[in-house]
Symmetry: C2
Subunit: 114 residues, 2 copies
Amino acid sequence: MNLSKPMTAASINAVILALLDRGDSYGYEIIKNVRALSGGAIDWPAGSLYPVLHRMRTDGLVESYWQQPEGERRRRYYSITAKGRKALGEEKAQWMTVHNLLMQLWGPDPAFGL
Amino acid sequence: MNLSKPMTAASINAVILALLDRGDSYGYEIIKNVRALSGGAIDWPAGSLYPVLHRMRTDGLVESYWQQPEGERRRRYYSITAKGRKALGEEKAQWMTVHNLLMQLWGPDPAFGL
DNA sequence: TCAGTATGTTTAGATGATCTACATATGGCG
DNA sequence: CGCCATATGTAGATCATCTAAACATACTGA
């Protein structure tokens, strides 16, 4: 399918924050989870995700820490902050606002009684 | 509420095409309809809409024609084309792909069985 | 041992489509 | 006459992502 750039841009923040709200994770795992949860439809290039995570850290929406399991590559884990949860709430509200509008427009014609 | 720029960018095409799929309309009316249908939450500046309509015309997603009712300002009406309907279908598919992902992430935790 | 693949993170610089801000025009109303 | 709502248009700035590449390590199989 390949999401358009604007669709990716509009949803990547909400998706990342929603995932981290489930529990800490790291870049590569986030990409795999999104791919799996979307049935393969959404497959972010690494270069798309990492800069967003960095920006979120700068903005205080997430925090990060390194972890190095025995015999594995080190990973930078991210956790959502209180500010990040607030931002997630706003993302949800915006998404649902647009979704409700689209549902009206895609619904049965009679509803279009303006 | 004020939609973020990325959210506007990601949805404006789908909203415009969905509206025109209901029937021909013109810029100013589209803005009013979107404002009304969203309960005032979405209020596009005119300068946001017109360039998008122009680009859609260039891309062949819509066609336009002038109309000048008695004693009223002239309006440039837009109608959706076959190509526009195809694009609308793709917009729908993309929107629902992301929406389904978000619904999973916002849903009850147990579903998160990766 | 060596190549290939999956894992994992990073960033410099190009890109490009919207947003800002303004311009233009006219009909109706008090 | 002045103001607001109606109605459309565009030049140039803006700015966050995308592209493309690099770096690093663990494992697998030939």
